[in-house]
C-alpha cells in the first residue's frame, strides 16, 4: 500500500523544514523571513492538494500508509496514514496557515513568529496523520509550545496570563492522555504479548467495562480541554482574546479540531463499548455547551470573546455528532470540523481587520461600520450567516447532518441542541447590529474599506464557505466511507452479537420502524434500533 512517493511524511516535514530554513535566515532579512514562511506554507498546501488528488475516495481504510519502525522492542513506529476523516482536516490546516501568514502583517516578518508558526503547522499535520498513538501524543504536545510563545510574544494586553493558563491547563490534561496511552498499551501487551502503539492494532484490545470507561475518560480529558468541551473551556476565551490574529485563527480553526479529531479517531476507535456507555454523559456536556455557549456569548461585549463562546457552542455540535453514533451525525461532525475551522477563522480575521483600523474589540466602541466599508460588512455578513447555519452556506450542511443523525438515536438531545440554532442568530445578529449598523461617529471616520490584500486572503475562505454549502458532495463522499468503517467497528465491538444475527456484510444497518413496515434508513447506527422503538429516545 506504500505509494512510491511519501506524501504524508513530506506533509509533516515540509513546514518543519521551512521552520529550520527560517531559523537560518538572519532576523534582519525581514522580507526573506516572510517569503520563506509564506512559501513554506503554500508549498505544504500544494502537497495537501496533491494528497487529496491522490486519495482514492470510496475506501474507508487508511491510505498512503507509511510505517517505519523506530523502537521495535516497544512497538513504536513512525507510522502515518490518512483516511476520509483526516484528509479534509489536513487540507483545512494547510489552507488556514498561509491565510494566517498573509493576515499577520508585520508579524510575518518576525523570524521567531514565522518559525513558531511553521513548527505549529508541522505539529498539527503530524497529529492528524499519526497512526501511532505515541507519535500522536508527541505531536499533540508539541503544538502547545509554539502557541504559548505566539500568545505570550505577540498577543494583546493580558497575554501573559492567557498564555500561562492555556499552557498549564492543556498540559495538565495531557498528562491523563499519556497515562491512558501507556495503560492501554500495557493491557494490550498483557493480552496478546505484542507491545504496540499502532492504533489499528490497539483497536482490537479487549477491555473490561471499567477499564474501557476509565481509559476513555483519560483520553477524553485531554481532548475535552483542547476542543474545548464544557466545562473545560475557560482557557479558551482568554487565549483567543489575547492571541494575535494569526494565533486566534490557528487556535480556533485548527487546534480546536485536534480535540474533536482525537475524540473521533481515538475514543471511537479504541473504546467503542465505553463510548456507548458514556455517550449520554458526553452528549449532555455537548448539548450544555451548545446552549450555555450561546447564552454566554449573548452578553459578551468583546467580539473575540463572543466568537470564543460561539465556538464553544459549535464544538458542542461536533461532540454531539461524534457521540450520536449514526452515519449522518458522524459524517456531519467531521464535515463540521472543517466548516467551523473555515468560518471561525474568517470571523477572527475580520475582527482583526477592525482592530487594526480602530484598535478595539469592544462592541461599545464600534458602530456604523457598514456605511464606511460595505464590502467588509458584506464578507462579515456571509461569514456570520454561515456560522448561524443558514442553508446554502457551509455551516448548515454539517449542523443538519449532525442534528438529523442524532435525532435517530438520541432524540431529546437533538431537540435541545436545535434550540442552539436560535441562539446563534441572537448573539451574532446583536453583535452585527452594534458594530456595523448605525451612524459612524468621528472615531470611525477614518475607517477604511477592505484592502485588496485583505480581500485576497479572505476570498478563498468565502469561496469555501459557499462551495461547501452548495456542493458538499465531493467532500462528503470521501468522508462517508471512513465514517462507515469506523461505525462498523464500533458496532462490532459494542454489540458483538450483531454478526450472529446474520446481518449483511458491511452491515451496521439500522432499521427505522415506520409503522409496521421497516425501512433501512441509516447505515451505521449503534443504538438506533432501540431508539426507534416507540418508547425509546427518552
Amino acid at each position: 500500500m506504500n505509494p512510491a512517493f511519501p506524501f504524508l511524511t513530506v506533509l509533516v516535514l515540509l513546514p518543519a523544514g521551512a521552520a529550520l530554513v527560517v531559523a537560518a535566515v538572519p532576523s534582519s532579512a525581514r522580507l526573506a523571513v516572510r517569503a520563506v514562511g509564506l512559501a513554506g506554507s503554500l508549498a505544504t498546501l500544494g502537497f495537501a492538494i496533491a494528497t487529496t488528488v491522490e486519495f482514492s475516495g470510496g475506501r474507508g481504510t487508511f491510505q498512503m500508509v507509511s510505517v517505519h519502525p523506530w523502537i521495535s522492542s516497544l512497538g513504536i513506529s513512525w507510522s502515518l496514514g490518512i483516511d476520509g476523516i483526516s484528509l479534509f482536516l489536513v487540507l483545512m490546516t494547510t489552507v488556514l496557515f498561509p491565510v494566517a501568514f498573509a493576515a499577520a502583517g508585520d508579524q510575518s516578518c518576525d523570524k521567531s513568529f514565522v518559525a513558531w508558526m511553521l513548527v505549529l503547522e508541522a505539529a498539527c499535520i503530524g497529529s492528524f496523520l499519526s497512526l501511532d498513538v505515541l507519535i500522536f501524543f508527541l505531536f499533540f504536545e508539541l503544538t502547545l509550545v509554539p502557541v504559548y510563545f505566539l500568545i505570550s510574544g505577540w498577543g494583546h494586553e493580558r497575554r501573559g496570563y492567557a498564555a500561562t493558563k492555556f499552557f498549564l491547563y492543556t498540559l495538565a490534561a495531557s498528562a491523563f492522555l499519556l497515562v491512558g496511552i501507556l495503560a492501554l498499551v500495557a493491557i494490550h501487551a498483557n493480552e496478546t504479548g505484542v507491545t504496540t502503539f499502532d492504533v489499528r492494532q490497539l483497536a482490537s484490545t479487549r477491555l473490561s467495562g471499567t477499564e474501557g470507561v476509565v481509559l476513555l475518560l483519560a483520553f477524553t480529558a485531554a481532548f475535552a480541554v483542547k476542543a474545548p468541551i464544557f466545562p473545560f473551556h475557560t482557557w479558551s476565551p482568554d487565549a483567543y482574546r489575547e492571541s494575535p490574529a494569526a494565533g486566534a485563527v490557528v487556535l480556533a480553526g485548527v487546534m480546536a479540531k485536534l480535540g474533536t479529531y482525537g475524540i473521533v479517531r481515538f475514543d471511537l476507535e479504541l473504546f467503542p463499548r465505553a463510548v456507548v456507555t458514556l455517550a449520554p454523559l458526553i452528549l449532555t456536556l455537548g448539548v450544555i455547551g451548545i446552549i450555555y455557549g450561546g447564552i454566554v456569548a449573548a452578553v459578551q461585549r468583546d467580539l473575540k470573546r463572543l466568537v470564543a463562546y460561539s465556538s464553544l457552542a459549535h464544538i458542542g455540535f461536533i461532540v454531539v455528532g461524534a457521540f450520536a453514533l449514526t452515519g449522518p451525525a458522524l459524517s456531519g461532525a467531521v464535515l463540521q470540523m472543517v466548516n467551523h475551522g473555515i468560518y471561525t477563522a474568517a470571523l477572527f480575521l475580520l475582527i482583526a481587520m477592525i482592530y487594526k483600523r480602530l484598535g478595539s474589540f469592544s462592541t461599545a466602541d464600534l458602530t456604523g461600520l457598514q456605511s464606511k466599508a460595505p464590502v467588509l460588512a458584506g464578507v462579515f455578513t456571509v461569514t456570520m450567516l454561515a456560522s448561524i447555519g443558514v442553508p446554502g452556506l457551509n455551516g448548515f450542511v454539517g449542523e443538519f447532518l449532525i442534528l438529523s443523525g442524532t435525532f435517530l438515536t438520541h432524540r431529546w438531545w437533538a431537540v435541545v441542541a436545535t434550540a442552539g440554532v436560535v441562539l446563534a442568530a441572537v448573539y451574532l445578529l446583536w453583535a452585527y447590529q452594534q458594530v456595523f449598523h448605525g451612524v459612524p461617529t468621528d472615531r470611525e471616520a477614518a475607517f477604511t474599506e477592505m484592502t485588496w490584500r485583505e480581500g485576497l486572503y479572505m476570498a478563498p475562505l468565502v469561496a469555501i464557505i459557499v462551495f461547501l454549502g452548495v456542493f458538499p458532495g465531493p467532500v462528503l463522499s470521501r468522508i462517508t466511507p471512513s465514517v462507515d468503517r469506523l461505525l462498523e467497528h464500533v458496532e462490532a465491538v459494542a454489540h458483538p452479537r450483531v454478526p450472529a444475527l446474520g446481518r449483511p456484510e458491511r452491515a451496521s444497518t439500522l432499521s427505522v420502524r415506520v409503522g409496521t413496515a421497516e425501512y433501512r434508513a441509516t447505515r451505521g447506527g449503534v443504538k438506533a434500533a432501540e431508539a426507534n422503538r416507540p418508547e425509546a429516545g427518552k
Binding site: 523506530w70 523502537i71 513504536i76 513512525w78 507519535i135 508527541l138 504536545e141 508539541l142 502547545l144 509550545v145 504559548y148 510563545f149 500561562t164 499552557f167 491547563y169 466545562p231 473551556h233 447564552i295 454566554v296 452515519g327 449522518p328 456531519g332 457598514q370 456605511s371 443558514v390 442553508p391 446554502g392 447532518l401 442534528l403 438529523s404 443523525g405 435525532f407 437533538a414 436545535t418 434550540a419 440554532v421 436560535v422 442568530a425 441572537v426 445578529l429 456595523f436 449598523h437 448605525g438 451612524v439 456542493f471 458538499p472 458532495g473 462528503l476 463522499s477 462517508t480 427505522v512 415506520v514 409503522g515 409496521t516 413496515a517 425501512y519 434508513a521 441509516t522 447505515r523 426507534n532
Partner: protein, 639 residues
Amino acid sequence: MIHAAFLIPLFPLAGFAVLAACGRRLGNPLAGWLATAMVAASFVVTVIVFAGLFESSSHHRSFTQTWWTWFSVDRLHVTASILVDPLSMTMALFVTGVSALIHLYSIGYMEHDGQFPKFFVYMNLFVFSMLILVLGGSFLMTFLGWEGVGVCSYFLISFWFDRPSAASAGKKAMIYNRIGDAGFLLAMFLIFERTGSLQYETVFARLGHVGTGSLTAIALLLFLGAVGKSAQLPLYPWLADAMEGPTPVSALIHAATMVTAGVYLMCRINPILYRAPDAAHVVAIIGGVTAFLGATIACAQRDIKKILAYSTISQLGYMFMAAGVGAYVAAVFLMLTHAFYKALLFLGAGSVIHAMDDEQDTKLMGGLRRIMPITSVTFLIAWLSIGGFPPFSGFWSKGEVLLNAYGFSPLLYALGALTAVLTAYYLGRCYMLVFSGQARWTEARRSGDGHGHGSGGEALHPHDPSWVMTAPLVVLAFCSVFAGFIDLPFHPDLVFLERWLSPVLGDRLFSHHFTASTEILFGVVDGVLAALGIAIAVSLWRTAVNRREVEPAFLQRAWYIDWSYDRLIARGSTLFAGFASAVVETRVIDGAVNGVALIARSAGGALRRAQTGYVRNYALGVMAGLVVLLAYVLSRAFS
C-alpha cells in the same frame, strides 16, 4: 416547454450575481431596470411553463427536475431539485408577476436613495429564494428558500441601517423567524426518522405507515415554522416592526409573498394535515384568533403602514383558518387575491408617503383624493376588495373561506364574520383619514410638527408619482377587481382554480357541500357585512380625525402583547444570560480552574526554589524534549 422550469429561479439568481458584482457600476436607474427585467423574464418563463402544464393532461402536471445531489449520507439523500405541479406553478406565477410590478415601482420609489443598486441586489436574491421556496422538491429545498427569504427580509428591513429602529426591526424579524425555523428543522428530523426521506413525493407516499401521533407532531412543528414566517399568534410582533423597511419591501415581502409562505407550506403538506385532524384544528383556531386579533389592532393604529401590517396579519389568519378546515383551494384563492390588493394597498401607501415627504401618520394627512387621483382610486378599489364588497375579488375569496369555516364550526364562522366587518371598517377609516376630509398636512408643516425626515419648513406639493409607480398600481387594481373570477361558485365549470389544483389536493379537498340557496344566502350576508363595515367607517371618519372612544389605548398598544414579550422574555433572558456570564462562568467554572491553580501554587511553594517558576522555561524544555524525541524517531525510523 414545461422543461424550461429550471429557468424560473435562474433569472433572478443571475440578476443577483450581476448586480452584486457590478451593481454600483451600473448605477441608478440601470441596476433597477436590469433587476426588473430579470424578474419579468422569470415571469414570462413561468407563464410559458404554466401554459404548457395547462395543456398537458392532468396526470402529467407534476414532475420533478433534479439538478444535483446536495448532500447524501446513508439514506439521507437530498437533491437540489424542483417540483413543478399546479400548486407550485400557481405560486410561482403570482410571485413573479407581483414581484416584477413591485420591482418596477421601486425604480421610482428608491430613485433618490444612495444605496439604489444594493436594494435591487437584495430584491433579486429575495425573488430567487422565494421561487426556491415554492418550487423546491423536498422539505429541505423549501427550507433553503425559507431561510433565504428570511435572510433577505432581514437585509431589507434593516436596509436603512443607520436608523437604530430599522436595525433592531431586522434583527427582531430574523430571531422570531429562527424560533419558527427550529420547529421546521425538528419536523424534518422527525419526517426523516419516520419515512427515511425528505422528498415530498416519497414522504407523502409513505405516510400510511406513520402513526397519527407522529403525524400530529410533524404537522404542529411545521405549523410552528409557518407561525414564525407568517406572523401568526404568538410569533407575530415582528411584522409590525418590519414596516421599518422601504415600502416596496413591505408590499412584496411582508404582504404579498414571503409571509404567505407559511400558508403555502400548510397547503403543500395537505396529505399530512389530512391524516392529523387535531393538528389541522389547531391551525384553524390559531388562524381564526389571529385574524380577529390583527383586525382589532388595525382599527386603532395611526401609522398607515402599521394599519396595513396588522391587516396582513389578520388576512393571513384567514388563510390559515381555511387551510386548517381543509379548504386549501380557498386558502390559495385568498392568498392570490390578497397578494394583489395588499400589494396595491402598500404601493398606494408608498405613493402617499412619497408625496408626504416620508410622513406615515394618517392623522397628518387628509384631503389627498383630488390631488392624487390615481393613487386615491386604486386605493379605494383595494379597500373595497379587501373589505369583501361584491363583486371585487376579496368578496369571492373571503366568501369561500367563511363558507368553509361555517361548515367546520359556526363559532369559527362567527369570528370570521366579525373580522370581515372590522376589515371593511379599519381600511375605510384609513382611506377616510388619508384621502378625504381636511388637508391636515399643511398645518402640520406650518406648526413645524413634521415627524418625517423632510426639510420641515418647505411647502409640500403632493402629486401622483411618475408612471413607473402608477403603472403597477393600475395593473394591481385591475387584478384586484377581476381576480375573483378565477373561482366562481355558480357553476361546476367556473371553479377554475379548484379544478386546476385538484391533482395536488386530490380527494382531500374539503367535501362540505352546500345547497345553491345556502351559498347565495351566505353571499348576501357577506355583502351585507362588508357594506356594514364600510358604512360605519364612512359615518365615523368622514370628517373626524380623532375618536378616542373607538381607538382605545389597549388597541393602540396592540393588546400589550409585544410589550409583555419585551418585559418578560427579552429582559428576563438578558438578566439570566448576564447571571450565567458573570456568576456561573467567571465565579464557578473559571473560579474552580483558578482555585486549583492557586492550591497548586501554594503547595508548590516549597519546591519553588528548585524551579524557575517561568512557564516560558518549561515550555522551552518541553519543546526541546519533544523535538529531540521526534528527530530521534525520524532518524531511527528511516535509517
